[in-house]
Subunit: 416 residues, 2 copies
């Protein structure tokens, strides 16, 4: 903790690291492109951003981003700027405008990525943070130890509310701890939110008469602000137990608004995240965004998964999950959500890489496309995690566990 | 107009354009990484996204983004997908999750940028759109023709509310049509929103006693949802005439929420935009985002400016301004805002390139750093636009207009 905001950037510049860092500090606090009469020494002392650290990382052959001007050569480095909170207060959109505003446009820079953020204690105090986090979610899901096993309603789009309810019943009967709407499915003409919510909760009630237990169901409340509030409150009123938000689509302020109107855990889906992070010389690191999402109230945060269907390498996925498990800004560990082409196949490797089973393990196709059906799909995931937690290899364990064997045969050849 | 949503992407892939386009359509509608029993032919017919167009653009030597897998070569192309609105309804965050969700992460793609969006009429009907747009803003500003000349309170950070009010008075006395808060200044300990609003309005009232006229003042209401609502309503209650929102910081849903609580024009600042657009193979075109901002209610939209302090080339700036002036989704032209190191120097070239003076021309340093003071700075901008509209060159006109001559001497050598 510090009494100034500290933001760490990876930059690239044809003007020298020190000059570029000073331009960044000026643009995001008291300066502009030309000296101004009003920028007095006193104002500068109180309010100017400071360059705290410059770490050279060497020259690059070609600029990563076009449009930068300067004599060259293009050099890379890490730069830490600090800002007094007196400049912008603690509201998250206003923090963003300072640490992640016009910086991305500066012609001094041919690379600019916000990679870390350290906030004064005032931010933790000003924001609600996760209401359930890891421990509260475990309690609500009735899963004291080990991974919370979940699935996504699939096909993502096209099921009627009644069909969704029947599928949810089947998934609950198969023993899942957690079921979520797809990020594509919130409120639509063919599956209106309220009808789907009611149908799913009825399906879960029917299953609970058999199993004695109701899984968490993350109902996707994403949408416009008033509609999200209404849906969030509706889920609680109808006896639901979790809401889901597409955080990049609704914005940090939208997520925080859901948190203020929710008495349930918030499952944060990161659809759209690739646009913000996939160029390694631009945008944001996951570490920064998950921190903001958690301050705003996310309990569960998507981190992708090992050998996923996306572009992201495994070490990046594990680093993301670790950041979600790290207590931060006075708040507790949240729940990393492993998802994207997950199946029994990745369980042991996930456990080995993360060193923890404090996670939500969400398989869509990896359960529903199991050759022996959904129940066998769920069983295969549990067997895989039992093996992992017992220190057994999946192949070995599969010899005496046919559902796992079938899962590995179906999904295992997708190994990258 | 069409009854399906049409999204145009620039993509790059090592798997062939057709296969990549089909993967995109599957991921964003009924499919996932493996065939599912529930994806029936009927469901597929009703809900699957369709590949409408594939335009090859040739091979590229190196992949633009890392993480794509496939046999190669990497080819580029434009792809149009269409989606039935029945899949997601008309709420903007849910539209985004479909046209701009997991797509950015697909391992089939080494480049993925959303470059255009055509929406069915239902979207125009479901959203408030701009309340004042170009014509309403002209009326409120009392500027029937020609550019609306504005400035930004500078230094951006550090002035007290009283100092800001005194500066606003001075700027209004100098004859400006429009004054805005900096994007860095919303509500902060050293300049609380309400105190600053009151001080500025008092300053403008004092000036109006002399000039008989009060300029528009865009008060930066950005922040958390409830705080934005409160501030937006406060501006109207205190007799203010414009609000400003950092749209990328508060999100599309946040902007729309301000619109629903505002009786005043909304000035949309795009701080943070660079992170979404600066890699030409990733993210979004401005054309797409300005369309969403306008649907959500933006009246004025920042487009950068010619020979700006940022990375963006002039032709991109002009294309952005044209898109803001294009009637869209049943709504009227909005106001393009030219800003970033603007001064008298760029007036004639801006008019020549855009072919229109329907714009807000916002100069911060380009007014305040004029060697003869703020009033001369404002005069220099008006003279420059008078010259442009009369078809005279700035250099020629400056011979008989000393404020313009001094401005060109100060700012003109910044010409790229």
């Amino acid at each position: 903790m510090t009494d100034r905001i500290r933001a760490r950037y990876l930059i690239e510049t044809p003007r020298g690291l020190d000059a570029a860092a000073e331009a960044m500090a000026g643009e995001q606090s008291t300066g502009t492109f030309i000296a101004l009469p009003g920028e007095t020494p006193e104002l500068h002392r109180e309010h100017a951003a400071r360059v705290e650290e410059v770490v050279p990382l060497g020259e690059v052959e070609h600029p990563s981003l076009a449009g930068a001007t300067g004599p060259g050569p293009h050099v890379r480095g890490e730069v830490v700027l600090s800002f007094p909170p007196d400049n912008m207060g603690t509201e998250l959109p206003n923090l963003l405008a300072t640490v992640a505003g016009n910086l991305f446009e500066l012609q001094q820079l041919s690379g600019i990525r916000l990679i870390d953020l350290e906030l004064p204690a005032a931010f933790g105090e000003a924001h609600p943070g996760p209401q359930f986090a890891l421990e509260g979610t475990r309690e609500l899901a009735g899963v004291a130890t080990g991974p919370i096993i979940g699935t996504i309603v699939k096909p993502s789009v096209g099921l009627t509310p009644e069909q969704t309810g029947e599928l949810a019943e089947q998934l609950a009967l198969a023993g899942l701890d957690f079921i979520k709407d797809d990020e594509l499915m919130a409120d639509s003409p063919h599956s209106p939110f309220e009808e789907r919510l009611d149908a799913v909760l009825r399906g879960l009630d029917r299953a609970a008469e058999v199993t004695g237990r109701r899984p968490l169901y993350a109902a996707n409340v994403s949408g416009e602000i008033d509609e999200m509030r209404r849906r969030t409150e509706l889920v609680a009123a109808r006896g639901g137990n979790c809401v889901m938000v597409n955080v990049n689509a609704v914005g940090i302020a939208g997520l925080r608004d859901v948190r203020l109107h929710s008495s349930l855990p918030i499952h944060a889906h990161r659809a759209g995240w690739g646009a913000l992070t996939r160029d390694p010389s631009l945008g944001y690191s996951f570490r920064v965004w998950q921190q903001l999402w958690r301050l705003a109230g996310a309990d569960h945060v998507h981190v992708n998964g090992l050998r996923n269907k996306f572009w992201e390498p495994d070490d990046s996925v594990i680093a993301s999950a670790r950041s979600v498990l790290e207590p931060m800004n006075g708040g507790p560990a949240a729940v990393p959500v492993f998802s994207s082409a997950q199946s029994a196949d990745q369980a042991a490797d996930t456990y080995a890489a993360l060193g923890s089973a404090d996670l939500l393990y969400v398989c869509g196709g990896g359960i529903m496309a199991h050759p022996d059906g959904v129940a066998a799909g769920v069983t295969s995931i549990r067997q895989a995690w039992d093996a992992a937690l017992a220190g057994r290899t999946l192949v070995d364990y599969a010899e005496t566990h046919p559902e796992l064997a079938a899962a590995l045969a179906t999904f295992g050849d997708r190994r990258a």
